[in-house]
Symmetry: C2
Subunit: 142 residues, 2 copies
DNA sequence: GTATATGCAAAGGGTTTGCACGGTT
DNA sequence: AACCGTGCAAACCCTTTGCATATAC
């Protein structure tokens, strides 16, 4: 898969640098990671990489559609690979855990919004806040 | 209504200061305003008010449930009064306009998420990105 | 060899905090 | 009169940017 990524980068006129492949690998392994988390993961094996590089690399990887980000909660954006089908992000305000569901389940909703406002909603871009089963049960506060 | 707000503040042990009433009024008039926008509005009549006060006041007003905020797009949170029924926010990535719909239309979706994950989704807290009718038609880029 | 990426450090926006003064109760 | 709330300034986090060096092509 890393070979495929090199391919994609080249096709878009980008160079395949170690940092770019490291970030891509980290995103793939972590699923839903912030830039800081990605850097921390990379530092376990490659301590030299810089945070600003992670930001710049993520921009490139989004441009070539290997990665997307979603705004979840109030903190940093979280990045994830665009390998599988589009999905929604549910972030628990109690424990911070992020769960996913295929984006298709929101289709009736998206359809209704389009009918009523003419608005084309991208439900994958923003995470949805709430409480996971466990935290809802234990009434934890955020 | 400002008298009612004074009442609510007092009930929660907060003082009814001019700044708090100014912020509440601004939020009511502006609908969907960022802290900066709220401050700008207030400065038209009361130039002395400080931005950090706006932040602190918004925190208080949220605590007593006179105001809520939603994260829309990548910028600052936007605040709005909790007078009407809960609603969803749709932000156009083309023109930046924010439209609303009653939150009830998302109930089937919320229900389905609860069934499949046990997750209690708060769909009002995060704005939904997309394209409004006009911008979707003209294919504008963000 | 050349243009692009990186590391570093500094700047930038938005938000929070410490402190002394001022205002509400 | 007591205490809470404000203004101001500085600190803070996250993200972006300028520049010289390093590196993929």
């Amino acid at each position: 898969m890393t070979a495929a990524a090199v391919q994609v980068l080249h096709e878009h006129g980008y160079r395949a640098t170690p940092q770019r492949l490291l970030v891509l690998a980290a995103v793939g392994e972590l699923r839903h990671a912030t830039p800081e988390q990605i850097l921390a993961h990379i530092h376990q094996t490659s301590p030299g990489v810089n945070l600003s590089t992670v930001y710049r690399v993520l921009e490139v990887l989004e441009d070539v559609d290997l990665v997307t980000h979603a705004h979840i909660g109030s903190g940093s954006a979280t990045y994830h690979a665009t390998d599988g089908p589009a999905h929604l992000h549910f972030r628990c305000g109690g424990c911070g855990r992020v769960q996913s569901l295929p984006a298709i389940i929101a289709e009736p909703f998206v359809q209704q919004v389009r009918e009523r406002l003419g608005f084309h909603a991208d439900v994958t871009h923003a995470g949805i806040d709430g409480r996971c089963r466990e935290c809802a049960a234990t009434q934890e506060q955020p």
